[in-house]
Amino acid sequence: MKYFAGIDIGSTAIKISIADENKNLLGHKITASGSMFYKYAHETLDALVSEIGINKEDIIYTVATGYGRKIFKEADENISEITANAVGARAAARDHGEIKTIINIGGQDSKAISLDEEGNVTNFAMNDRCAAGTGKFLDACAMNLEIRVEDLGEKHFASTGTPLSINSTCAVFAESEIIGLLGNSHSVEDIVCGVHYSIAKRIVKLVKRVGIKEGIYFDGGPALNIGLVSAIENELSCKIFIPQYPQITTSYGAAIIGVDSYTYEN
């Protein structure tokens, strides 16, 4: 058997997907990037290989992507996360209609990607060098509110008052805003809801830059947060599609690119 690995080394997490020749996803693994990207990426790959019970030698083509892709020197190919994300999203959604727009929120950036009918990237926009509207922003907020990031979604729907918007777009200043709100004993739920809407509004602005086309796919870790999903849907006024494993779309895309490159080369 021939296998293909997509390795997405992000600022917060390392995501690895393994696909077979038919581009089916066989397995995936997510670990924290930590301080030693290179070492952890190898460890994660080894763990995944033994988990799904294949021989590492059967991985005949590896594609690295993500912010840390250049450090994974053993990769056969290097590809930007935008291309990989587009390919992965199309493949993940192949039975569910056409994807025309992708929203990706990562640990340190957020992107909007616009696709044509064939799945080519026609336009994309990224946030400025700043943590506003990223996963880090959510992390910081959860920490200030003393709740787990995983619980943000639930808190969102428990909000009964008016969502309290966070005006600062800077994650650092937003922290002090949140502390101020807590100091005046506003409910955590209303603050969480406001945080989600603040991010959602920024994301929608980003999507507007590439043009909102329905058939919207949302991935990246924050897509696991149902409160944020609902806030983005409300701001966009349409439903968006969330894959089963929102974090691995890009690594899956990289694995698929591996299949194509290998086929082309041989």
Partner: protein, 429 residues
């Protein structure tokens, strides 16, 4: 990998729900700031905080039993509307949410206030929807907005308004305009203007004005009993509140302020510069500049704007208590006393600003114009010159309704306030 839609069970907001949420979020932000960010909050302000929260966060309707008469500007006499058993609702709008809706209907460089008012009406989502709208032909944008609003299905009546106020022609012109407005509204409400009901409503509005004057007098004190932002909220409530409730709440506020003055309570700091605010009107929740000023250790002691001082300052002066004479007196008040920069010559405005600086012992003036509010932008030069001549420090700012621009503005506001403090310190020595 397959799809699962985690949000399947959640309904997406309708456009109206979305608009309401956006506005509620804007409103609560400002209300919370007023409630929480300043020292010594006033107990009697709670009525006003609750009122704005009810109306803008919970879309509460205030007038269910009356004919609601929408007005597009300050020049429609409320006295006539009350006399004909209607309630005036001023439609000037301060929401960024509505400004964004209006941006699709008007050129992007238009005044945010007009855009927001048009956007609000186009959404048809008003907690107190007017049965008819009177639109004085004041500035270009408001004049044209009237026709746009009519296209949304509202009954809009233009009220001719002259662009000069010195001449006898304009005086006679506006008197005829007001008579025609009164007879139109009388037909629509099926009520007649009588000596009695008109005199009574002139009395009631006059009383509300007298309360404002007393408030204004209290702000002359060295120890300032109330913040400018709170005052803006009080005068803003007059746009739509039930007048009797407003009067009652303002009487309570006056009592509390009088006690404060006796006890030498001061809402500012020791050296907080005293500011007179002028220019395009701050309308809830667009209190961006007033909040910047008062969060930067200055206090607003008076204002010259159509959402506040200009609405209350001058009273109707009647010679003879006959219906036609009362109508003429009202026309004179709403034209002659108006200091809107739409007029060709408008020295009255400069005089009033100087008067307020002197009477309220102010240290400087902040002149704010909405980007796109051409007339205030145009009058900036003459006002700045006049202030310079009088030795009054003035800061000119341009802003809009967007929430994102505060950073650049705050530096300028803070620098201005610091310069006033320096002057104050030197003078003190």
């Amino acid at each position: 990998m397959s799809y699962i839609n985690r949000s399947e069970n959640h309904k997406i907001e309708t456009p109206v729900e979305k608009q309401n949420r956006h506005k509620a979020m804007e409103a609560i932000k400002v209300i919370n700031t007023l409630k929480e960010e300043f020292k010594s909050p006033l107990k009697s302000m709670e009525y006003f905080y609750r009122l704005f929260e009810d109306v803008y966060c919970h879309q509460k309707s205030l007038h269910t039993d009356k004919v609601k008469v929408g007005t597009m500007c300050i020049q429609i006499p409320s006295e006539i509307i009350y006399a004909l058993d209607g309630v005036p609702i001023r439609l000037c709008n301060g929401f960024y949410t509505d400004d964004e809706i209006g941006s699709d209907l008007m050129p992007s460089k238009s005044c945010p206030l007009v855009k927001a008012s048009v956007g609000h009406l186009s959404s048809q989502n008003l907690s107190d929807k007017p049965h008819m709208i009177y639109s004085p032909t004041t500035c270009d944008q408001k004049t044209k907005a009237g026709a746009t609003i009519e296209s949304f299905g509202y009954d809009v009546v233009d009220v001719d308004f002259p662009r000069t106020k010195e001449s006898e022609i304009s005086r006679e012109f506006f008197r005829r305009s007001i008579r025609s407005f009164a007879s139109d509204l009388s037909k629509k409400t099926g009520k007649k203007l009588t000596k009695k009901n008109l005199k009574a409503s002139i009395g009631k509005i006059g009383y509300a004005q007298s309360l404002y004057h007393r408030l204004s007098d209290l702000r002359k004190n060295k120890n300032l009993p109330i913040l400018g932002v709170d005052m803006f909220l009080v005068t803003n409530a007059f746009f739509f509140d039930k007048i009797n409730n407003w009067i009652e709440a303002t009487e309570m506020l006056l009592q509390e302020l009088e006690t404060r003055v006796q006890q030498n309570v001061h809402v500012g700091g020791k050296i907080s510069p005293r500011i007179v605010y002028t220019g395009s009107p701050p309308i809830f929740p667009n209190y961006k500049i007033p909040l910047l000023i008062e969060e930067s250790d200055a206090v607003i002691v008076a204002d010259e704007t159509c959402s506040s001082n200009r609405m209350f300052n001058d009273r109707v002066a009647v010679d003879e208590w006959f219906v036609n004479d009362m109508l003429d007196s009202m026309a004179d008040k709403y034209l002659k006393a108006c200091t809107c920069p739409i007029f060709s010559k408008n020295d009255d405005r400069i005089r009033r600003i100087i008067e307020l600086v002197r009477s309220h012992n102010a240290d400087g003036v902040v002149y704010q114009a909405f980007a796109g509010c051409t007339v205030y932008e145009l009058e900036q030069r003459s006002v700045l010159e006049a202030m310079e001549k009088e030795g009054i420090s003035i800061l000119y700012l341009e802003s809009d309704y967007s929430p994102s621009q505060s950073g650049q503005l705050s530096t300028r506001v803070e620098a201005f306030i610091e310069s006033l403090k320096m002057k104050k310190r030197k003078k003190g020595k």
